[in-house]
């Protein structure tokens, strides 16, 4: 039977490295996706993901289970990613190029040439619009869209109220909608 996150955390606290390995295997991809949504560079996102689990490993002894493990790990990840984003000076073109090639390989691009151009424009403008959001607004969009988290969980992760999450989400979506209204 598969152990719950909390049971694995307790095993980690008693020194079982394999339990921590299991937690990392459960969450490394999700954490990476959230961080990549916030940062614009794959290498930076991978580095911050590693740092997230490293911090979790060092602090897991003090984790009391007041919140769920995923809320806790996302909180570490988002805080590190927001810090990294503020320091980030790199060119976002790497990320854009990577993403376009990925989308094409996944046949996300429509076959109709006109639709293809429009989709490409929409994607490029969407990336630009997302990158123009503040780290806090981007964080709510990423956590809601990628992870489908509730406002309560997002509030716990970002250390703000549900009302703040709601207004940030509303503002961020409005901003994206205004910038992309001609494509939608």
């Amino acid at each position: 039977m598969e152990l719950s996150d909390w049971e694995l955390v307790q095993k980690c606290q008693s020194g079982e490295m394999s339990a921590f390995q299991e937690l990392v295997s459960r969450y490394h991809q999700k954490v990476f996706m959230v961080i990549l949504g916030l940062l614009r560079n794959r290498d930076d996102a991978l580095e911050v993901s590693q740092e997230t689990f490293l911090r979790a490993y060092r602090k897991i002894g003090g984790f009391q289970g007041g919140s769920s493990f995923y809320t806790w790990i996302y909180r570490i990840a988002v805080n590190l990613a927001i810090d990294a984003q503020r320091r980030q000076k790199r060119n976002p073109l790497d990320f854009r190029d990577n993403m376009d090639s990925l989308l094409e390989s996944q046949n996300e691009v429509a076959r109709d040439p006109f639709a293809e151009v429009q989709d490409r424009e929409l994607r490029e403008n969407m990336i630009k619009a997302i990158n123009d959001l503040t780290p806090e607004h981007k964080a709510v969009i990423v956590l809601r869209t990628i992870e489908g988290l509730s406002y309560k969980d997002i509030g716990e992760i970002l250390g703000c109220s549900e009302g703040t999450v709601m207004s940030r989400l509303h503002y961020a979506r409005k901003k994206l909608h205004d910038k992309l209204s001609s494509f939608l």
Binding site: V24, F32, L36, G37, M99, L102, T145, I146, G159
Partner: protein
């Protein structure tokens, strides 16, 4: 604000499943019968779909074995002392339980230095003398009040030879010492 504008405000929360059952029913009933709000719902859903595609498609699969290998190596490396210290200091100041300490200290310091004006009956207990007034013209005098019964007068400056001249001159603004 008309009904459609109110519904559009709630559209996001409705589609996110954050409204109560009763509120959801109101929004659903309105949207199903209103062309404008129905179109707004479709636009919203398309926007969400595109955001999802852009964000999720951008994330390649990370191979766990290599991720864990790198992580394990870093877990066994001890960070340099200055980095560790920096992290501890940052964590201490960032922690919600201690973040209030600095503003609280400022309030306490301000309270200590200004309690005299709010609680004049405590003034007699103070050992600090306060300057009651300074006469900056002619015979410059400072009056120091130490408590209710003791007042000290200090002559700060007196020009013995030029008393008469000084009296005729127009007093200069500003302190004379």
């Amino acid at each position: 604000m008309n009904e459609c504008e109110r519904i559009e405000q709630s559209l996001g929360r409705w589609l996110d499943g954050e409204l109560s059952a009763a509120e959801s029913e109101v929004v659903r009933a309105h949207v199903s019968g209103c062309a404008r709000c129905g179109a707004a719902q479709k636009t919203f859903e398309k926007l969400e779909r595109v955001i999802g595609n852009v964000l999720v498609a951008a994330a390649p699969r990370i191979e766990f074995a290599s991720f864990w290998r790198d992580l394990e190596r870093r877990m066994h490396d001890r960070p340099p002392w200055h980095k560790e210290l920096g992290e501890r200091v940052h964590a201490w100041f960032a922690a919600p339980r201690t973040a209030w300490v600095i503003p609280a200290l400022i309030v306490v310091v301000l309270a200590v230095f200004s309690y005299d004006s709010y609680f004049p009956f405590w003034r007699s207990r103070s050992n600090l003398a306060t300057v009651e007034s300074i006469d900056a013209y002619g015979r410059s005098v400072a009056i120091l009040r130490e408590d209710e019964s003791k007042t000290t007068v200090i002559w700060l400056y007196q020009n013995q030879e030029g008393d008469d001249e000084a009296a005729e001159e127009t007093p200069q603004p500003g302190p004379a010492f």
